[in-house]
Symmetry: C2
Subunit: 254 residues, 2 copies
């Protein structure tokens, strides 16, 4: 609950529920300084209109975790923002533990994991490390891309209860059981957000990616029950990132 409370407080103080996904296209490794400057520059311009920064492999792989991405995490913290590592971790427990230790050591306040890996020797070690370090774990429940229907949208059979349920509803229930600090549900599927929100209520905040470039709509996502909107390329690739970020923040506030 530690990370969740921090998010609420930060969203209030920054008067924004926008999470910036600091994503950029592939850049030749030799141009890593240029990429670093570009990322730093977007953050410098956009920070007044967001409450958190989400970082993915777009930056980790070319810049490195320590000294690279860590500097951006520190800068985000200096701006009073929270930081989320979008690693979608889905390995065996001993590996997940090491991954969580490295990302938390580099300063991230939360990380994103895939509940598909299950609890025992899967997610449990991540939740243990997170609790020890008072950091957050956010679980994927429904992703924003078309192919999400194949996995997240499939129907599974609960063999104990002999009933069939959608995969994403099983994930939403696990998120409740495991006390996740947040769940991810794509803005491109607002009807799924609504259904998930009905199950988890106000217990766990919904983070919704897919706004803008991918086609998700701000109003539909929020009305369906999303608490935080994740926006990436619409802002990072814009000619004037701050103007776009402000506009999106203002739309979300309405």
């Amino acid at each position: 609950m530690f990370f969740r409370g921090k998010m609420e407080k930060t969203a209030k103080s920054k008067d924004s529920n926008i999470v910036l996904a600091l994503d950029f296209p592939f850049e030749e490794p030799k141009n890593k300084e240029k990429l670093f400057s570009r990322a730093k520059n977007v953050l410098d311009r956009v920070h007044p209109y967001i409450c958190a920064v989400k970082i993915n492999h777009h930056l980790v792989l070319p810049l490195g975790t320590f000294n690279g991405v860590q500097k951006i995490v520190e800068k985000a913290h200096d701006f009073g923002l929270l930081t989320i590592m979008d690693c979608k971790v889905n390995d065996i427990g001993s590996t997940n533990k090491v991954i969580a230790q490295y990302y938390y050591a580099s300063g991230f306040d939360a990380l994103i994991a895939n509940p598909f890996i299950g609890w025992e020797e899967g997610l449990k070690p991540i939740f243990d490390v997170a609790q020890e370090l008072q950091r957050g774990v956010i679980l994927l429940v429904y992703m924003s891309h078309k192919g999400a229907t194949e996995g997240y949208g499939q129907t599974i059979i609960n063999t104990e209860k002999r009933v069939s349920i959608p995969q994403y509803m099983a994930f939403a229930k696990k998120a409740l059981k495991w006390k996740a600090d947040g769940i991810v549900a794509g803005a491109t599927f607002p009807e799924k957000i609504k259904e998930i929100h009905k199950t988890i209520g106000e217990e766990i905040p919904i983070y919704s990616p897919g706004i803008g470039t991918q086609g998700g709509k701000i109003k539909a996502a929020l009305e369906a029950g999303a608490r935080y909107l994740i926006v990436g390329r619409t802002i990072t690739l814009a000619e004037k990132p701050s103007e776009v970020a402000k506009k999106i923040r203002d739309q979300a506030k309405k």
Copy 2:
């Protein structure tokens, strides 16, 4: 098929079907040189008994991709070994593409992906990049940890055909359809390997992790249909890694 052929050739020339998972516990970031030396040292001793090296976030996060892990990849290539990036990628297509571009740019011959993300705007961009660069894509079909039963072992309903099938069998069929270069099935579940092998036949080689530390047995995995055995901590954390590696290689040859 490019990577698959290379693996066959390398396993033959090295007279080994052992893939070394070069994994180590969390190390304080300031000790990264020590970790790099340790990884290099294990590879130096073990290379005569293996056909490929599998690298995970245990090394990528502390050492960095370029100049860090890339040096180990190059060293492995110098030894005539192939290299597999075990990133278990499971993001949206545009992100997967960037991840694949960075890992392939750092020299990896193949990467591991999670078929749960689906094809459209999911795995397709990875297969496209792999084909363009003549690299491999290996898909997870059944993982080696206990919690794997929750996701990989669940029963799903094929709504078109109105039949229920195990998740891992659906993944195995997708691996065939998508022409994966390999699939992963845990040695801790030999009966699953057998079932999967029955479906995919000799079409796609099975890579089997979980030997040793996790409890998987060499003989059982090979008899069930595994082609390559992935061994990590049993070798990397051993006092005499080369002796252990040789012993495992010899057992697998029987």
